[in-house]
Assembly symmetry: C2
């Protein structure tokens, strides 16, 4: 694995493919952190295993497990899913596995962004985050890919989406937050995104999902479904605190133009009714630092947009909500060539994210 | 990775290739154990890195490093050598990385033998050995190979050599030792070797190298150099305690017949003058359990036979002994198509082995 510091993806002819382009596989991390996964993580593990199995129907899945958990991960996962030993601080592959790039010869490389647990000492979610921050390089080394050293720029994979045709989508609330890159202006951040992802247009949605502790990752509120089309988390309840956030995003998207000069087609994906954490669930979470990890009644950032696009399927969350079926039908309409698999993920949501947050696709080498 | 329990390599048509057949790569483990590697292991690491670099001239090298050592291993090794995170109790890839097999379609599989630190609670060298014993499966999983579960049979890779044409070579002193498989007779052990390695003849050398704490692994005293030919560690000093051991092996080999019905051609490889550990070296070793790891004046099992056959080279030990050059010349004569690279390995020898002990070849997939 060469660590590339002198050149950029753009100068070397690499770009980040869209998630709906072909994958060679997917990376996940086995959950174990007791202040993220309630009651020893048994329920979360079950959901992780179901998600890995669903994705593995159409692409190779590699699950990273800390040394002490390797045996258990190996025992819980079926033989066709690969388990490798790798330390981490938690289980968010989207945010600290590499962002993978590809050139027109089909060569794959990774980007190693700086990671500071969603805000570092300013408003980050745990400390330390050293092992998470090592994963991008370890994974590139494991997979035999060269890696761009972008550790001086703080970015999580969940805070970006690309259409594969020159457009990137982010949120202002996250990328401009004080805990990321306070020394960089919006324009300077755009320059980084352009040179690292090889995009010419950056769309800045104003908001994410209410109370999303990542400062509002784009991958929880909006996703490309194909070039020129996006799906937006939506509520018709004008009294809900999420309404003005989604409405502001809709207004922005309806006037936006992508890198190919297209107006975007915006599909609305219903949100479930507000999901709050129970007292019983809070009792199953260890304290984080010297504070409770969650407080009873706290609203969780539930959204069906947090799905993963596998080669042959869409793996999407379910919350036991009446909107589950409606959301599934919307995605079935938007992805007619893929099977939509819905998995009950309340136990991942309590940890702070959902299916897209715990997965990272590796583009196919041609 | 499928774990195969119902079938055997023989029944599935797999055999262990000889080390001189083509490799796809080599596995090593980064040293860190303070009762094996003196003074923090800095000198041993240097030798390990030199060996990895020599092998990597002609095949891919993967070095496993414990989580806490990963960064340092990555920094010390060049970019073309892959480093993966993997826990171990020590650094003897020969003995607990899988024994790799191949079928006539070029498919590779591994064998996961039981490992008990060279004798378990009887006369093993450290406790516990749990992480070592996990490595064979972890490596097969990492590499995408199915693995035969042979954990109920204690065997180290250094205690077997094969010629790739149906012959296996072992030592009685090791395989019949009380700390290995005391419940199995010599005939029952042979049955296991035949079915796991796919050999029809097992040659039982009586002895290994004097004071070799593995109970006398064959890979320190004798090795196949091609079908029908072996190289034997030899001394002309009839007063030396090694003389009767090497002589008994020579007598055995001179009457032996291999699986193809050939009489073996035995080449003698000179031994260096006796190597003993110094007081200064002992002071740099942590205690092992409640005893000193080594005592001043203790004789080490130095032997030039402990070399590695890479695709393009022979990587062999040197001890700063007058016999270094002579031994190198012998191997140059026996391997005319390979470059012989001699590396000063006293710092590995103090740990208890040498170049062959810290490497494991992966046969090429066709």
């Amino acid at each position: 694995m060469r660590i590339l510091k002198e050149t950029t993806p753009v100068s070397d002819g690499f770009r980040m493919p869209a998630e709906y382009e072909r994958h060679q596989g997917c990376i996940m991390i086995f959950p174990e952190r007791p202040d993220s996964w309630q009651y020893g993580g048994y329920a979360a593990r079950k959901a992780f295993v179901q998600i890995a199995e669903a994705i593995a129907e159409s692409e190779q899945v590699t699950v990273c497990a800390g040394g002490a958990r390797y045996d258990n991960a190996r025992a819980l996962l079926p033989p066709h899913i690969r388990v490798v030993e790798m330390s981490s601080n938690d289980a968010w592959a989207r945010d600290y596995a590499p962002t993978f790039l590809k050139n027109d010869k089909g060569v794959v490389r990774g980007v190693d962004w700086g990671f500071n647990a969603w805000g570092g000492l300013c408003d980050g979610l745990y400390f330390p985050w050293d092992k998470d921050n090592q994963m991008a390089r370890k994974l590139c080394d494991l997979l035999g890919f060269d890696v761009y050293d972008m550790r001086d720029f703080i970015l999580e994979g969940g805070s970006i989406h690309v259409d594969g045709e020159g457009t990137c989508m982010v949120t202002e609330c996250c990328l401009l937050s004080k805990g990321r890159n306070p020394g960089l202006s919006r324009e300077e951040i755009e320059v980084r995104l352009r040179s690292c992802l090889n995009v010419s247009v950056v769309l800045w949605l104003p908001w994410g999902i209410h109370n999303d502790e990542t400062n509002g990752h784009v991958d929880n509120i909006c996703a490309f479904t194909r070039p020129g089309e996006v799906v937006l988390a939506w509520t018709e309840d004008r009294e809900d605190v999420q309404y003005p956030l989604s409405k502001a995003c809709l207004d922005y998207l309806e006037q936006a133009v992508d890198a190919r000069g297209r107006k975007l087609k915006v599909h609305r994906l219903p949100l479930p009714k507000p999901v709050t954490v129970t007292e019983e669930e809070c009792r199953g979470l260890d304290a984080c630092w010297d504070e409770p990890a969650r407080r009873p009644g706290e609203r969780l950032a539930a959204s069906y947009v947090n799905f993963y696009i596998a080669n042959g399927s869409i793996v999407m969350p379910g919350f036991g909500d009446p909107a589950d079926a409606e959301a599934k039908a919307v995605l079935e309409g938007l992805f007619p060539d893929r099977k939509v698999i819905q998995i009950y993920t309340r136990d991942i949501l309590i940890g702070g994210g959902n299916i897209h947050c715990i997965t990272q696709q590796i583009p196919a080498a041609d």
